[in-house]
Amino acid sequence: MPTTTPKPNQQFAPRIARAIVRIWPAQSREWGQAFAAELPAAQTAGTTVTWLIGGLMLLLREWLKHAWRSLGRPVGSTASDASAAFTPRYSRTPRMPLWLMLTLTLCSIAILLHPEVRQVLRNLSYEYSSEPGWNPDQWSSVKRLRKISKSNRDPQLLALLSLLSKNVDEQLALSDEAINKDPSLTWLDYQQSLLPANSSSAQTYLSKERFARLQQWDPNNGVLHLLAAETLAYPPRVEPLDMLIRRKSKTSREKALIDNPQWASAMHAAFTAPNYDSYVLQLVELIRNVSSRFSVQDPEIGLYVLSMRRIVHIDLLRGYADVLTDRAASLEAAGKTNEAIATYSEMLHFAQQISLDGKAPFEQYLAQQIGEEAATRLAPLYDSTGRSEEASLIRFQLEKWKAERDPKILRYVPLHYRWSQWNSLAWSGLIITVAGFAVSLVIPVTFIALFIVVRRRKTPPELRGPADFWASLCADSAPWLSLASSVLLYVTYHPYARICSAFLKEGDTSTGIESFLSAAMVPAILPDDVGFISDPYFHWVGITTALGVLLVFFLWRMILRSKHSV
């Protein structure tokens, strides 16, 4: 009897078919066997390969179906479990015991009721729900203070509300009332000396009457003379247009200002005034006082008021210091040593004054710059006139300044603008934002899921639909997610909240303004790479994309169902 050698397709095809059947999902393996049993019927190599390819496609399809369905099973249970294998598709019910669900939900609620967490959630809602830019009128803390002010016309409260208002007329009316009741609040006029703060095109300086009142109240303050000089040097609204049309450079403006006796006299008065006070401490005290007395501990208020505070014009100071340096050098060259000494001394005096009383980092930086410039030139002049004791004193001061100077200029950069610090603040901000969004999404989902689960608990498994399936899945997972995001929110924000609350405590001096500003701005900042999430355009794109994906998903399901119906 002649023996025939089997063809390659007859040799390998059954092995491949057996392998396919072996890895076929258990629930539908019968169909894999059905496919494999037909293989001997394929006579040619071509039909065998085609049949096998079809089998592989079927296998892939079954595996995808299997993987999708396994998502609906509790972790740890296999598809071969009787309960999972023989129950209808949407019959899933929550697996989490009631006591655990209640415990997790109560823990989340307890964390969310913590004042720090409530605070950060409020800040996030201001940041992402209100119109762009700061609008204190929308903040619940400011609304509360306004409500209190209706019955209690406390001057400190009115002063703070005037600083929080965005309406110029209201600001001035409130500060006037506060100053009339308590003249020690007259410094408010300086804070409101260029209004409105948020619109440079509509800004105007303080009225003559208010300015006179301010100068009368604090005649020895150099900052007020600087304000007078600023109104001459930078007339509001005219300046930008003037600059644009005439293309005036800074130097030509300075030259024009030197010839203006009023400006020179105001700057001289500023540089020789006995003190320098931009009223930052008064501002801090006001925030602390109102926060403590009216129990409104909102870091956002402090952040807003301190960030919007009036600061001296740096160009003005730098410009006048340059004018004095040039003048003193000319006098020195002309042999008028005493006049040159007097001019450098004016610079040095101002530098010492600003170094002692200036609160902002840029003021310290400026003081050191002007002071070093003056002291370096002044010491040899004193030596040349035989005033060695004064020269030694100045050299001592110079050395002190040099010793204090950090080789890194970053020392003068506010904490929140330093890159490494900024980066860590920004990442904390991102975690807080993500956790905050998760909390606000997961909490309602938990309640909706529980509502559906409880309401449909008596519905037989065969009548359950996708809503029941998803509700049961959410009821199992949402309490965990809610607890995790609440804890994350609390843990991340807590260190910053402590800094803020220490700063807002009356009488506390351990927390610096810069530390407070850095801590208070954390919920509102994001790393540059993900900064787009705070952009409303990307919110719109995100929501549209998500809805689009959902729509495509449901359409796909509908098409599949109509196709699969037979």
């Binding site: 037909e38 394929a42 079809g54 089998g55 592989l56 079927l58 037979v566």
Partner: protein
């Protein structure tokens, strides 16, 4: 069969093949040959029909396959309820010119 369903031309071809000898058991390869459907298309349709209980399935007697030197085959035929429904569907699809019978000489 309760609700009206949209059926693909491939399903109609398969129904036509199953209705050719409605009481006889058919096997997959033969159905594939009759309908020109690849195994990757044919089996999902068979599985859906079976899930909807419009298709009866059984395994061939072991002796029959063994005699021919092959494993027992999986066999299919429409349920008596499904036959009436399938005829309606085929007639309707033909009327709508959605589908043309391939076995019209049967």
């Amino acid at each position: 069969m309760g609700r009206r369903l949209r059926i693909s031309p491939q399903t109609l071809s398969l129904l036509e093949a199953l209705l050719y000898k409605p009481t006889t058991w058919h096997h997959g390869y033969a159905l594939s040959q009759q309908t020109n459907l690849a195994s990757g298309t044919l089996y999902p349709i068979l599985m859906r029909l079976e899930k909807l209980r419009w298709l009866e399935t059984t395994w061939e007697q072991p002796g029959i396959g063994a005699a021919a030197g092959r494993p027992p085959r999986h066999l299919y035929r429409l349920t008596s309820e499904a036959r009436a429904w399938a005829r309606e569907e085929l007639a309707d699809a033909q009327k709508r010119k959605f589908w043309k019978p391939a076995l019209n000489n049967a």
